[in-house]
């Protein structure tokens, strides 16, 4: 553990941008955990008298068209957005990498079938596929997660497949066979941990992408249900108010969204360095 912390400090000190991203990440996680306690107002309490107030001391991010406090909504939305991104990425990560590993390891028909399935998904215009899935299944948080997971799946499958097939004849795999490991065990205990570093980069990129995707769905009107606060919806709602001068409604959730995605995207390299044993000493 101490070694890990030291390693962590090293990775951070080596790259200031990564350090910043990690700092931001922890801040986001904290906000997600304690959001409701931090929010100064009830995020869904409307107040017609307070509608569309510009940012002020009382409402630093202003209020929306129903008089809800934007700061509170932006804070509270963190949990939902992070949740969607994490769940979607976790789902596609596990399913995708399991498929990809199997395809890369056994090759042959497994590979061909997995390859065709991922090709088929990839050949879809991904965002439209997500729209279709949500439209077909109904717009609930779970369905947004499924849709996002489905369109992310091929990326994991591909990375996992290529990383596995590079290693499937590696000495340590042969050695594991000699040690009496079955194929499945080799996949689970030897190959999978070793393909984690390149997958980690994918994970962090996809986290950001998942949030953007959910936001895009909201923009089309297929997002999370109101009155739940979600950055994408808030931007989409706020978007219609930009022209009339109520810029804060779109700007602040947009900034929060951007900051989170930005942070996830930057996290990738750092994460890889953290989990890569070659870099550890």
């Amino acid at each position: 553990m101490i070694r890990f912390l030291r390693h962590f400090r090293y990775v951070m000190s080596e790259n200031p941008v990564t350090a910043g991203a990690f700092f931001l990440f922890f801040a986001i996680v904290l906000i997600a955990l304690f959001g409701p306690a931090l929010a100064p107002y009830d995020p869904i309490a409307t107040s017609a008298a307070n509608a569309l107030q510009a940012p002020s001391w009382a409402h630093p991010f202003g209020t929306d068209h129903l008089g809800r406090d934007m700061l509170s909504r932006v804070i509270v939305a963190t949990r939902l957005d992070l949740g969607i991104a994490l769940a979607a990425v976790a789902l596609s990560f596990f399913v995708g990498s399991a498929l990809g590993c199997a395809a890369g390891f056994w090759g042959g028909w497994t590979d061909r079938i997995v390859g065709r399935v991922t090709d088929t998904i990839m050949a879809f215009p991904l965002f439209v596929l997500a729209m279709g899935v949500v439209a077909a299944l109904g717009n609930s948080v779970e369905n947004i997660i499924y849709a996002t997971a489905i369109i992310n799946l091929p990326f994991y499958a591909r990375v996992a497949r290529s990383e596995t097939s590079i290693r499937r004849n590696a000495g340590f795999v042969q050695a594991a066979r000699l040690c009496g490991c079955t194929d499945v065990r080799i996949l689970a205990t030897h190959l999978f941990p070793n393909i984690l570093p390149p997958m980690m980069v994918q994970v962090s990129l996809n986290m950001g992408w998942a949030i953007l995707n959910a936001a895009g769905l909201s923009f089309i009107g297929l997002g999370v249900r109101p009155p739940d606060a979600e950055w994408g919806i808030m931007v989409a709602e706020g978007a219609t108010y930009i022209v009339s001068g109520e810029w804060w409604m779109a700007l602040f959730p947009g900034l929060a969204l951007m900051l989170a995605v930005f942070c996830f995207n930057l996290l990738g390299d750092g994460l890889r360095d953290l989990v890569d044993p070659q870099r550890r000493t």
Binding site: A45, L66, A135, R225, P227, V243, S244
Partner: protein
Amino acid sequence: AAGSDTLVVVTGDGINSLDLHRAGTNRPSYQITVNVYDRLVRFGVKTLEDGSLSYDSTKIVPEVAESWTYSSDRKSITFKLSPKARFWDGSPVTAEDVKWSFDRAVSLGGFAGVQMKAGSMTSPEQFVVVDAQTFRIDLPAPSKLTLPDLAVPVPFIINAKVARKHATKEDPWATEYLHKTPAGSGPFKIARWEPGQQFVYERNDAWALGPKPALRRVIVREVPSAATRRALIERGDADLYMDVPAKDSKELMEGGKVKVSGAPIDNCLHVLGLSVTHKPFDDPRVRQAVAYALPYKDILSAAAYGRGKPMFGAGAKTPATTEWPQAFPYDTDLVKARALLAEAGLAGGFETTLSFNLGLADWQEPTALLIQEALGKIGIKVTLDKIPGANWRTAALVEKRLPMHLENFGGWLNYPDYYFFWAYKHGHLFNSSNYKNEEMEKLVDETLHMEVSDPKYAPNIKRMIAIAFADVPRIPLYQPYLDAALAKNVGGYASWYHRQLDCSTITKA
């Protein structure tokens, strides 16, 4: 933007056909019929108190028909066609054309058939060519609705000679041809149509059934984003923008860069529907409780931005006039609401789902949110459900399976009984609450075709309204406005019950 005889219009939804009778033609496409074709008669135009123009539901004026006469039993109407009415190819509009067009309207089915039926016109036998210039409609029973129903966009007159040329065995009504190529006599022609982008009207200089339109070209451009539409009109890149969201129209009005012209839409209400077949809304007390709990004022200010006529807070429990729509005797009163709920045995509240149409989210979403919050105060826990436009019609109107929902029906024909016919009669499309009341059924059937002058008319209408007050399957929120934003130099805009643009009266300085 452009020269003084060219008008640039921006709109959110594009047209998908130039033929209203065709199955699948969307609502924005009705404006093609309005501008490109003529009808036998049309509604007149009146000036409202604020100076803006509106159609006049009480005045029916000649268009292709120069004059008309009722038979003594009032079961047939005979129209004398104007010799000035000429199709674009120069041929005169004959009774033959009118009959072919009306036959088509009742034969193709779908929306056109339904609308014709409202005027008691259901089969081709009813349409009789007396001579080239004389046309007669026979009715099964006298109806006050027939003549107004001839003024709506549906019974438009097609150049039958041209259309027949393009009819085939499979397609006897030339739907394929007319879908893309109008053949009419109206004040405008379609110069080009790029689906999903724009279409352009061009003036028919030979039109002689009214004052010659001031505009030579009207370019209607599709702009999906409301914010962009607003920006365009504010920046002066567009001349006219119809169906402005309430907030924008309020602000545009205050901004002063453009004119906003609007009027409450006749016979139209934004309502909260409570399905009487879903527990606990089968209990009228629960419905009344909801009606007492709604935050009417907040909805009016935060969802309608003041662009709505209040429909709450009437003093008496029974209507004093036959005016429709009129204020209901409910107001925000949580004490009464709780009492009523307790009376219904639901003091602890209950859970339900409030559905709304994604396509109308601009007013429905804030309204839904306000309702959700307000009902929470009397213990009703509401989950919101956005339903995509394509699904809305099925869920709300066809299957009528939404326990609580936002709805906005407006009757084209401005009679209260016409509204009740569609929205309160059991099994009818807009009766999304599945409301059923024997007395109401009888009253509507009796009154629907009755002349307004009939002595029984007023009492019947009042009774209907009184039932609606008491039973509240539909809780009116407000009567919406139809607002249009106009560049300062644009005049002559009139708002219409069909909510489409009529270009013929518009002028540009």
